[in-house]
C-alpha cells in the first residue's frame, strides 16, 4: 500500500485524545483502527446515507490490517485519507492512510473490509445504491492514459 497523500481521494480530520497515547508515549496501535472505523463510517453516513441507528443494511468487518511507519502522539492533529481498493456487489475494501496534518507521507497505512449485511440476519446483501455511488467516487482512476491504443 502506497503512502503518499496524493494516493488518497478523501480526507477527514482526526482528533487525537489524551488516552490514545499508551505507556510508551505514542498513540497505541489499537487506536489507529478506531480512526479507521470513525473515518469510514463517517463517510458512509455523510456521503452514503447510512443511518447506523436504523438502516436495515449495515456494514460489518471481516478483516482489518495496519502497518505502522512512524509514531504519532496526542496532541498532534491527524488526517485519515481514504480510497476504495476493491468494490464488489456486497463488499468493499477501504484503503486508509493516517497522516500528520501537513505531512506528505503516511504515518500508518491499512485496509478495512466491509461486508454489507442485513441488520437482523447478518446475511450479505447488495449494498444500497447511495452507498455504492459514494464508494465509486473513492475509486482511483486506474486508467492511466489510453493514448493511441
Amino acid at each position: 500500500m502506497t503512502e503518499s497523500r496524493r494516493e488518497y481521494l478523501h480526507f477527514r480530520p482526526i482528533q487525537t485524545r489524551w488516552n490514545d497515547n499508551d505507556l510508551y508515549g505514542h498513540v497505541n496501535n489499537v487506536v489507529y483502527y478506531s480512526y479507521f472505523d470513525t473515518a469510514v463510517n463517517l463517510y458512509l453516513v455523510e456521503e452514503g446515507g447510512l443511518d447506523p441507528h436504523a438502516s436495515t443494511v449495515i456494514g460489518i468487518s471481516p478483516e482489518t490490517h495496519c502497518n505502522f511507519h512512524s509514531a504519532v502522539a496526542y496532541p498532534e492533529h491527524l488526517e485519515a485519507g481514504l480510497r476504495v481498493g476493491h468494490l464488489g456487489k456486497s463488499s468493499v475494501r477501504y484503503e486508509i492512510g493516517i497522516f500528520r496534518e501537513g505531512e506528505e507521507t503516511a504515518a500508518a497505512t491499512g485496509h478495512f473490509v466491509h461486508v454489507f449485511v442485513d441488520r437482523k440476519t447478518h446475511r450479505p446483501v447488495p449494498m444500497p445504491t447511495q452507498i455504492r455511488s459514494a464508494l465509486e467516487r473513492l475509486q482511483p482512476n486506474t486508467e492511466t492514459s489510453t493514448g493511441t491504443r
Copy 2:
C-alpha cells in the same frame, strides 16, 4: 465513601489491559469508569436477569463520580467491590471500590447512578422485580440497633 474491603458486599475480578495505562504509566482516570460500568452491568446480567440486547427496561446513568486514592497499572489484577447506597423505585446508587487483588484499602472509590427507563422512550419506569431483589442483596445492613426493639 469508605475505602475498606469489608464495606463492600460483592466482588468482581477486573482484568487490566495494556492500553488502560496512559502516558504517565498508570491506569488512566477514564478507564476506572469502564471498570464501574462493567462490574455493575455484569451484576445486573448475572443476578438481575438483564439482557442488554433485548430487555425492554434498561439502566441509563445520570451521574458518575470517582475519587482516586492511589495509582494502579497494567498488568496488575484488580477487583471491583460493589454495594448499593440508595435504592429507589426506578433508580439505584451503586457504590464501588477498586482494589488491587489482596489489598485491604481501595485504590479508588466512586458511585454510579442508574435510572431504569423504557428502552424506546427513555422514560423512567419501576425497576424489574428480579433486578430489585438482586440490588437489595447489595444493601449493607444499616440497622445497627442492638437495643430491645
Copy 3:
C-alpha cells in the same frame, strides 16, 4: 453546576468516534471523561506550556465527576466548554460542559480536579507560573458589582 454556554470561557471542538457509542446507541458514560481529559490537557499544552512527555511537573487527578443531562451520539459534533472553579497553589478544579455544536444547553456537565505533582515522586508541588496564568484566564469574573463600594 450550571449548564448554559455562557458560563464557560473556553471551547474546544470534540470529535466523536464510532466506538464511543455503546450498545444502547449513545456515547457511553465513560467516554465523556475522555473528552474532559482531552480538552483539559490540550489547554494545558497549548496555553500552559505543559509537555506531557517531558515536563517535570505533571497534573494527576484525585477526583472526577459527571452529570448526564441528555444523550449524544456519534457522528454528532461536540464542544467542550471549560472554566476554572477553584484555583489553589498546586491544585485546580476545572468545570466542564459538553455541548452539541450550536446548542445552548449542556448535554453533560462535570468537574475534574488536577493536582500538580513532581513527575517522579508524585508529591504535590506549586503549579508552574505559565500554567497558573493560563488557568487564571479561565476563572469567571465573580465580581459583578461595580458600585460605590
Copy 4:
C-alpha cells in the same frame, strides 16, 4: 491462519467490558486488537521478564492484522490463544486466536508483529535472552517427520 484451539500453545482469559460492544451489539473490531496487545504483553511480562515501565528494550509494532469469523459480545468470557509464527533476531510474529470460553473454533484470528527496540532511540536491537526463550516456547513443533533420519 488456522482456527482451531489445538493450533495455539498458550491461553489467556480475556474479560470483555460493557463498552467493548458497539452500537451493533457486538465487540467492536477495534477492541480485538486491545485483546491481542493485552495477551501478548502479559506473556512478555510474566514469562519474558519485560518491565514496561523500565526495560531498556521494548517491543513496538510495525504490523497488526485481524480476521473476524463470528461475532462475540460482552458479557461473554473469552480466551486468547497464542503461538509464535516467526522468530527473528529482533522481531517476532505472534499468531493469535480469540475463542469463546469452551469453544473449539476461533471467533477471530490475527497476527501482531513486535520489533524489539531501544526505548530511547527506537532502533532495533536483539531481543533479550529471557524474552527469546519465552517466545521459543510458543513455537509450534514444525518437525513432523518421523522417518529414518
